[in-house]
């Protein structure tokens, strides 16, 4: 391995360095100054995020096991930005609750390890690397979900996640072995040439798909979602719903659009059905949720259903709109989770009716929440509208008008429950409204970044043009 191959893997190596630095810091920093680990981690990761924006060459390493190009690099950047915002939003929680339990560095190490797994998963050039990445990205999150060991519900979330994730990845691995059996290779390049739609291949594909569908929490593989989100610390729930889901969508897209393209006549039907099931299930279950975390869990299931509308196309337009949508979704959902996190941290309240009258006492938080929800619902001029509109355009470009119609029906359903939160915050007044509080700097910064993203990402069209150009790398 020479220096230039180091440069190609710089995201991975840099992140690994940060993880090791944090281990050193954990040992060397005295107990009284442990708070500074949070600052250190955010600072290091900020640098990492910025370094990621330098462009990269198209190349592959380790005999094709690892490959990278500007598009894959961009995926990693999207994830980096998401994680960075997430860190800003969790800083207060970490400083107030976690560091005192001597687990500050652990949180970062686990989180970054999981992110590292996602890097490898996205960059993988064969199924072995893919599987390693998948496992590395999932296992630390299970530990994170059980992070609040004193809470029974948190441990329960961790166990639920690890058991179902293990099953899912086992099923996925079984599917991969079938694909290997029919094509004789685990390298994506070889498989793409050999693969044909025999029964065994299709069975293999379906099993493999189930494993990833679990990570994206598509129906019918979604049952873990609400329980885990509710039990896990909010930062972890937010990580699961945004970063973990985004990474899985990216790799699924890469695989479907390149390696498994010959099976398109099979997977487009599967995705059609799953898209409908996911949208309707997510939206209809979200209608009655009272707990904000469960509410956002079902909302994020529904959003995953919308993403499938782009996935079904298999075209460059589909790729571009999915990336664009996921990017916007990261900002919108992080904004929503950020507000939930801020309120939960100060008051411990997580139910929708606790939010009644919030605008009268905390106007800024309510406005952030409203923008986030409008963006998730797809109301112009905030970014979510553009993301959704373009996704629908992509689906319509392939003639899926009925699917688009059913999707817009779902948009209307989703608007109802998003408005329920707006109703609680703006329309209602309450004697027990959450009193005014001021967030700390990190949280305010974290929310500010998301708000800027929500307002700008949609209206600023060169971004989409850039993503569209990048998408050529895939198709």
């Amino acid at each position: 391995m020479n220096f230039s191959s180091f440069l190609l893997m710089r995201q991975e190596i840099l992140l690994l360095t940060i993880i090791l630095l944090l281990v050193v810091a954990e040992i060397s920093i005295s107990q009284s100054k442990k708070q500074s680990i949070v600052h250190l981690a955010i600072f290091l990761f900020g640098i990492h995020t910025i370094v990621g924006f330098f462009t990269i060459e198209t190349s592959s390493l380790f005999g094709g096991m690892f490959h990278t190009n500007n598009l894959i690099h961009f995926f990693k950047n999207v994830l980096n930005v998401g994680v960075f915002i997430l860190l800003l939003q969790s800083a207060d929680w970490l400083q107030e609750k976690v560091v005192d339990e001597k687990k500050g560095a652990e949180f970062f190490i686990l989180l970054f390890s999981s992110l590292l797994g996602m890097y490898f998963m996205i960059s993988s050039g064969d199924f072995l690397m893919f599987y390693l990445g998948l496992e590395l990205s999932t296992l630390p999150v299970a530990a994170l979900a059980a992070f609040e060991v004193t809470k029974r519900i948190s441990s329960e979330a961790g166990i639920k996640l690890i058991l179902s994730a293990a099953l899912a990845s086992g099923v996925s691995l079984f599917g991969i072995s079938m694909l290997y059996a029919t094509s004789g290779s685990i390298y994506f390049q070889d498989i793409a040439l050999i693969i044909s739609s025999t029964n065994l291949t299709i069975l293999g594909f379906v099993l493999f798909f189930a494993g990833l569908a679990f990570k994206i929490s598509l129906v019918p593989f979604h049952f873990w979602t609400a329980d885990v989100y509710e039990g896990a610390p909010i930062s972890v729930a937010s990580y699961l719903s945004v970063i973990s889901k985004g990474a899985a969508v990216f790799i699924l897209m890469i695989l479907l659009f390149t390696v498994l393209k010959p099976l398109m006549h099979v997977w487009e039907n599967i995705i059609y059905v799953i898209a409908l099931a996911t949208m309707f299930t997510g939206n209809l279950f979200a209608l009655r949720q009272q707990n904000m975390k469960r509410f956002l869990a079902f909302s994020s299931i529904a959003q995953a259903g919308f993403i499938l509308l782009g996935l079904i196309t298999g075209t460059q337009l589909g790729t571009a709109t999915i990336i664009y949508f996921v990017l916007i979704y990261i900002f919108s959902n992080l904004a929503a989770f950020g507000v939930v996190q801020a309120i939960s941290l100060k008051t411990g309240k997580e139910n929708m009716n606790d939010y009644e009258g919030l605008y009268r006492t905390n106007p800024n938080l309510s406005l952030v929440m409203m923008l986030a929800l409008f963006s998730l619902a797809g109301i112009p001029p905030v970014a979510g509208f553009f993301g959704k509109f373009f996704l629908f355009t992509a689906a319509a470009s392939e003639g899926y008008y009925l699917l688009v119609f059913l999707a817009v029906v779902n948009v209307t359903i989703s608007l109802y429950y998003y408005l329920l939160v707006v109703r609680a915050m703006f329309l209602r007044t309450s004697d027990q409204a959450i009193p005014y509080f001021k967030n700390k700097l990190y949280m305010r910064l974290g929310l500010l970044v998301t708000v800027v993203g929500i307002l700008v990402l949609g209206l600023y069209s060169p971004l989409y043009d850039y993503i569209f150009e990048l998408s050529k790398n895939l198709n």
Binding site: L317, A320, F374, I379, P380, P381, F385, F389, F390, F392, T393, A396, S397, Y401, V404, F405, V408, V409, V411, T412, L415, Y416, L419, V422, R423, F426, L427, S461, Y464, D465, F468
Partner: protein, 496 residues
């Protein structure tokens, strides 16, 4: 800055100024200044339009075209014709009147005025857009503030009404989205690139099958906001719960977007679809006209009466558009303007009466002319204009519609429907005259209301702002007719 983009910029500046202003006094002054500037711009636009029209024969004038999303061929593409100019003027008038009428908003005044201005921003945007995508964006921007406006400042079952209204209108616009995508992906039927540009698409021969398929989507998507039967149910509840200025803006301006969209998008871009489907939708529109009028008779709440009357009158606009006839179309546009002004007047007056007597029940009101002479007199005039008395705008509009619908190349089916619809005029007279007779002229219902406060200066200003154009259109409809007729030409060539 070009003359049209200012209609986007000025509201945005007003909103920013409002964000930084504290309290009722500042907010209302800021929004008043903003709205006056808008009205000034609208009047200026009208004169500029006349000047430009004399030398420029394009369909749209003052056009400006900026590329927005180049991969989708989405442009920020604006321009106006006579119809848009007239509707922009209407909007500016109603918004300013609305600001005056809400002079005393005590709860969260800043937020109220911001929502109001956002709504007007969306409406202006729709009227100046030539690009379907930007039009759709502005359309949704205009709808969503209604949720907060009714939900926060409304009365009665406000949460229910706000939710119902928002969901029905946003649901409609979701349907519209499918229609717009259908148009977009057929806009290359003649070999060109895909485009959202309305003027370019109008030149394209969209395949008949696509026109037939997507016309209902586009038509229903727009017509729901014009209270097309049976999708009108949001309207009475929404109007009844909304605060006065919001009812004014909503019935006066927002509901006009429906007719405008039907005309500008559905009929202009999918003419064959319109021909194919008009028989079906014209029946719905006719039912709406008659049903709305009869429902209004049975209501006892002033706002509900007016809301159903709006269903009836806007049904008339849709009816006129669906007759596919030039004179009727002219009538439809004038009806839009006339109804916008009159219904805004009505809601303003109802708001004033309610503010003083704290009831909108006609059984509890009577003899208002004795105690509130100014409001009473205007109410009577508005009522007469509403039922189509010559000399006011309503007459000009309805005359055009019925003459057009009956006279030119109409078959038996259309004529029978027209006769049916004409009967609604009689019903309108019944409920308006009964209303005027009962609450204005009738005996005083209670004796303890004799010393109600007189109309204040801001109320009078708001009322006069709306009243003058009503009389203006009624007395001298020619200039308006001419402005509209000329702009109708290209549409007529396309559709008829």
């Amino acid at each position: 800055m070009d003359i049209l983009t200012l209609f986007i910029i000025v509201p945005i500046i007003t909103i920013i100024a409002l964000v930084f202003s504290k309290g009722l006094e500042r907010s209302r002054v800021v929004s008043m200044i903003g709205s006056i500037v808008q009205l000034g711009m609208a009047i200026n636009l009208m004169f500029a339009y006349f000047k430009e029209r004399a030398v420029n024969t394009d369909i749209m004038v003052f056009t400006k075209d900026l590329v927005w999303f180049k991969n989708f061929n989405i442009h920020y593409n604006i321009g106006v014709d006579g119809i848009s100019v007239a509707l922009i003027l209407l909007t500016a008038i109603v918004v300013l009147a609305g600001v005056f009428i809400s002079w005393k908003t005590s709860e969260l005044p800043k937020e109220f005025f911001i929502s109001l201005i956002v709504l007007s921003l969306g409406v202006y945007g729709v009227f100046i857009s030539i690009d379907l995508f930007t039009l759709f964006v502005f359309f949704e921007i205009a709808v969503i503030p209604m949720y907060l406006l009714i939900g926060i400042w409304g009365s009665g079952p406000r949460e229910y009404s706000a939710m119902k209204l928002t969901l029905m209108l946003m649901g409609a616009s979701a349907v519209l989205l499918v229609g717009i995508l259908g148009i977009y992906f057929n806009s290359n039927a003649d070999g060109g690139a895909l485009t959202f540009n309305i003027l370019d698409i109008a030149q394209v021969h969209i395949p008949l099958a696509a026109q037939k398929l997507f016309f209902p989507f586009v038509f229903v998507g727009f017509a729901v906001i014009s209270a097309l039967f049976p999708f009108h149910t949001w309207s009475p509840d929404g109007h009844a719960s909304a605060p006065t200025a919001v009812s004014m803006l909503h019935a006066g301006v927002l509901m006009k977007l429906g007719g405008y969209g039907v005309f500008r998008v559905a009929m202009f871009l999918l003419p064959a679809g319109a021909l194919h489907w008009s028989w079906f939708f014209i029946i719905l529109a006719a039912i709406g006209v008659v049903y709305g009028a009869f429902s209004a008779i049975r209501q006892t709440d002033l706002k509900y009466i007016n809301a159903y009357a709006s269903v009836s009158h806007l049904g008339l606009v849709l009816f006129a558009l669906l007759t596919l006839n030039k004179i009727a179309w002219n009538g439809a546009i004038i009806q839009s303007l006339s109804h916008g002004l009159l219904t805004a007047l009505f809601f303003a007056l109802i708001g004033m009466i309610y503010g003083r007597t704290h009831t909108r029940d006609i059984n509890k009101l009577g003899g208002m002319m004795k105690i509130l002479p100014f409001i009473g007199a205007i109410y009577v005039i508005t009522g007469l204009a509403y039922l189509g008395l010559p000399g006011f705008s309503g007459f000009v509009a309805e005359m055009n519609i019925f003459v057009g619908a009956f006279q030119q190349n109409a078959d038996t089916f259309n004529r029978v429907l027209t006769i049916l619809v004409v009967s609604s005029i009689v019903v309108t007279s019944v409920y308006i005259l009964r209303l005027v007779g009962k609450i204005m002229m009738g005996p005083l219902e209670t004796n303890d209301v004799t010393d109600l406060p007189k109309a204040t200066w801001y109320e009078k200003t708001g009322i006069l702002l709306l009243m003058l154009p009503v009389i203006g259109i009624g007395v001298a409809p020619f200039w308006l007719s001419e402005m509209i007729m000329k702009s109708l030409e290209p549409f007529i060539q396309g559709v008829l």
